[in-house]
């Protein structure tokens, strides 16, 4: 019963989104907005347009399949329920991101997907590899998320609104804005990390440590497409410039070749699929970079088609693993006889991946070539890159979808068995859908693709898909691609031989950085916090005084004047007492005498408060002085006798620091009293104290009412400090108790 209830959530959502296909195709925009931080103009707002709908259908549809699949795949896993919870949370975060109608909403959900993916990749948390992969994915996408946050803030400030509809109408403003380039770079950093573009691609193959349903969901159809979504979403306002074109096409092209080349060197099914996903994401980035209506159409089609065939292939890889016990293609073969439905799903998906007639992948590949041939710059170079990448993809498709299922089993120690319905139906459905789209491309193009393309292009684009375009250059390249792919496939043993040495990748840079950071922090910490309190005191006071002195000397305004050169006798006497106390404290060689002298200084200051009409301050000062002397006395009698251990040199250094602190503070006070007071503020407090604060004691009214937030902050600091003192002193007495 529980699985049915569980499935009803994504299925219900899927049905609801499916019902919106018609209205959205006619150009309707569904919007919901709840004020969130009205003072900042931030709203929790959502909009359903063509782009969001295409993603929402993929997210809920494949999500339902993955939940069904996992109920069998993980049926003996102790944390299956936790898994279901994570997947649903992730689904919610994904939907929130693709349906967001506000920049802040988008960012919050974007980060939530990253957090959920951390939990999902690290699902088998007992394994070192899982933890490492989860951490890696979190760090890489999290760093990109920070860049994205900065980009989003800049973007919102440049436009003056965080509302997506407003922003999408501000393309001309943004492209000519002086902050355009920083915004673009920051947003792309977010997109490239999430969508595993070079040089951040390494986390995606690493994330294969996750259970297979997670890979099928996150790493084929949904999360890794979020970077693509971000680029697509903002291409109407950020796209169309030279920097966009060059950045996206070069990074996309590089990722495409790198991913495809690495894919055919792998022997683990999931690794092959992960690297081809990297390559497909490169294709999508490349197409979005080109930005022509044709390229945009190709990108949206490829996105949908890839989500279908790749999730199907991942799920079959899991089924193969489940049914035979390995994912190593060197040991597998002939599984078509023991698990025919899985073989059918894998075959259909692989054909779509390879771009064979009559599957949806064929249409996508034709469009891809058409877009590269009509690229705005160096079409032949880009077409050559596309050709190379596609040929390698064909070979990889054969490795993943053909090799394990045909021929004979290579490792006779394996005993493959049939898998149950919940393992073969989920991969079969998206594979069949790929076939269905191949048969009815026009309807798919009109209902789902055209509204999405219109959003990405920023204007309506006629989308006419057909399976057969006649004999044209694209078909020729497609055929040659298939041939080249077959040739590469037949040379597979050669490539896989090369795989012995790990080779260099940007992942090593990540490792270096990850190892270097703690070492750097360690160095800094051991230098600044070496455990000797007097150095802490020196560093803290020295830094504060240096900063203050710098500000004092760079911002000198007005003349310094002694406020009261003609003080009365008792004022002068108090000053002399304070000075005598301070001198005594530095000269005495008895700790108790030093403390008493400091007390004299404190009481003298309190006396000054009384003389100048601040009884509150004076009272508090008297209490504080008394208590601190009590505290000192409590501590001092535990210390050994005072002896002079420091050298003359260090005493001189201490004197210089002390004099520096004293003179800078004197200058500061002097400067402060030389400035005319701002009368409006104190007059305002005086006047408002009784009527607004119901009190005649202005100081107290300020403390507990006008500036109560400051006081709340201060007492919180006090409470934390109390905890700190308690924690620092407690273990010592605790240890004594056990002695």
């Amino acid at each position: 019963m529980l699985p049915a209830l569980l499935l009803s959530i994504p299925l219900g959502l899927f049905a609801w989104f499916a019902l919106q296909i018609g209205p959205v195709a006619t150009g309707q925009l569904l919007q919901v907005s709840v004020p969130w931080l009205p003072s900042l103009g931030v709203a929790l707002s959502f909009r359903l347009d063509g782009l969001g709908l295409l993603f929402a259908l993929l997210i809920t549809g494949i999500g339902a399949l993955v939940l069904l699949y996992a109920s069998s795949y993980l049926h003996d896993h102790p944390h299956l329920k936790r898994f279901n919870g994570f997947i649903l949370a992730f689904m919610a975060a994904m939907l929130g991101t693709v349906l967001a109608g506000d920049l802040i909403t988008l960012f919050i959900f974007w980060e939530l997907t990253g957090l959920c993916s951390f939990l999902l990749i690290g699902f088998d948390y007992q394994q070192e590899a899982s933890r490492r992969a989860a951490f890696q994915a979190l760090l890489v996408t999290g760093a990109g998320g920070l860049a994205l946050l900065a980009g989003i803030i800049l973007l919102g400030q440049s436009v003056g609104s965080s509302d997506l509809t407003t922003i999408l109408n501000s393309g001309d403003l943004l492209r000519s804005h002086s902050l355009y380039l920083p915004i673009l770079i920051l947003m792309l950093a977010g997109a490239f990390t999430k969508s595993a573009q070079f040089p951040f691609h390494f986390w995606l193959p690493g994330a294969m440590a996750a259970p297979t349903p997670v890979s099928a969901y996150l790493h084929s159809a949904t999360m890794v497409k979020l970077g693509i979504f971000l680029m697509a979403r903002f291409s109407p306002v950020l796209g169309g410039t030279d920097s966009w074109l060059i950045c996206l096409t070069s990074v996309g092209g590089l990722t495409l070749l790198l991913g495809a080349a690495k894919a055919i060197q792998r022997t683990d099914l999931k690794q092959i699929l992960a690297w081809t996903t990297v390559s497909a994401l490169g294709m999508l980035t490349l197409l979005l970079g080109l930005g022509t209506p044709l390229a945009t159409t190709a990108a949206m089609l490829l996105l949908a088609v890839h989500a279908l065939y790749k999730s199907s292939l991942f799920l079959t890889a899991g089924a193969v693993d489940h049914g035979s016990g390995t994912r190593d293609i060197r040991r597998l073969g002939g599984l078509g006889r023991t698990m025919p439905q899985v073989a059918l799903a894998a075959g259909l998906a692989a054909l779509s991946m390879a771009g064979m007639l009559p599957l949806a992948g064929f249409i996508a590949k034709e469009l891809f070539y058409e877009a590269t041939l009509h690229a705005p710059y160096s079409p032949w170079l880009i077409t050559a890159v596309a050709f190379l990448g596609n040929s390698l993809t064909v070979a990889a498709a054969l490795l993943a979808g053909y090799l394990p299922f045909y021929g004979t089993l290579k490792d006779t120690e394996l005993h493959p068995h049939q898998v149950d319905l919940r393992l073969w139906l989920p991969p079969l459905l998206p594979a069949l859908l790929g076939l269905l789209i191949g048969f009815f491309p026009a309807a798919f193009g009109r209902l789902l693709l055209a509204p999405a393309v219109a959003q990405v292009a920023g204007k309506p684009v006629p989308v006419e898909l057909a399976l057969w375009h006649g004999f044209n250059p694209m078909l020729l390249i497609s055929v040659v691609t298939l041939g080249a792919g077959l040739a590469l496939f037949s040379l597979r043993n050669h490539f896989q031989m090369q795989r012995q040495s790990p080779g260099w990748d940007t992942e090593q840079l990540y490792d270096l950085l990850l190892a270097g950071l703690p070492r750097f922090a360690d160095m800094i910490t051991s230098y600044l916090q070496n455990g000797r309190l007097r150095y802490y005191l020196m560093i803290v006071t020295g830094t504060a005084v240096a900063l203050m002195a710098a500000t004092l000397f760079t911002s000198s305004t007005g003349t310094l004047q002694l406020p009261r050169p003609d003080g009365s006798l008792h004022e002068w006497l108090t000053a002399v007492i304070i000075l005598a106390g301070a001198l005594m404290a530095t000269l005495t060689d008895s700790r108790l005498a030093a403390v008493a002298a400091l007390g004299v200084v404190g009481y003298g200051v309190a006396l000054i408060y009384i003389l100048f009409g601040a009884p509150d301050l004076a009272m508090t000062q008297f209490c504080i002085e008394t208590l601190s002397i009590i505290l000192f006395v409590l501590v001092l009698h535990k210390l050994p006798r005072f002896t002079l251990l420091s050298s003359t040199r260090s005493r001189l250094r201490d004197m210089v620091i002390a004099l520096g602190v004293g003179s800078v503070m004197t200058m500061l006070v002097w400067r402060a009293v030389s400035q005319p007071l701002i009368p409006s503020l104190s007059t305002w407090f005086m006047e408002q104290s009784l009527p607004a604060g119901h009190g005649r004691n202005v100081v107290n009214v300020i403390l507990v009412d006008f500036r109560a937030l400051d006081t709340l902050g201060e007492i919180t600091v006090l409470a934390v400090a109390a905890l700190g003192v308690y924690a620092m002193l407690k273990p010592r007495s605790g240890k004594e108790g056990t002695d």
């Binding site: 107290n700 009214v701 006081t711």
Partner: protein
């Protein structure tokens, strides 16, 4: 460090000082005083008592653990800030009773806030004092 004079005097002084601290707290809104200094007076009273009678006796006299004073003080101050939220007003807005109460005059959330400061300051000072005196 046993002193007969201090030990005898503090028995009489302790209630007086506590009363005085309450007086400071309550009149603080109109005359010199307030929660902070009131809390310090509480701490001073118990510190003297502890000096005369020892740490265990001081703790027994206080009845509650100082850490609880700190926590409840912070909680009370925070509550006084949260109360206006219920009335739809911004955090920490002062709310006042319409009718003046006996002794304390107009009662309002600032007084509650000051009570929080009072407890927290007393608790924090006593936490340090008790911990330092513990070893003897």
């Amino acid at each position: 460090m046993h002193s007969l004079i201090l030990a005898t005097a503090i028995r009489l002084l302790l209630p007086l000082m506590l009363l005085f601290s309450l007086f400071l707290l309550l009149r603080g809104h109109n005359e010199p005083g307030g929660g902070f200094v009131g809390g310090l007076v509480v701490a001073a009273a118990f510190a003297l008592y502890t000096l005369a009678h020892g740490e265990k006796e001081g703790r027994r006299m206080l009845r509650v653990a100082p850490l609880q004073l700190v926590a409840s003080g912070l909680l009370i101050a925070l509550t006084s800030g949260l109360l206006p939220l219920l009335a739809g007003l911004p955090f920490l807005t002062a709310l006042w009773s319409a009718v003046p109460a006996p002794v304390i005059g107009h009662a309002g959330t600032p007084l509650l806030f000051d009570l929080g400061v009072y407890l927290l300051v007393a608790g924090m000072s006593l936490l340090i004092i008790f911990t330092l005196m513990e070893e003897n």
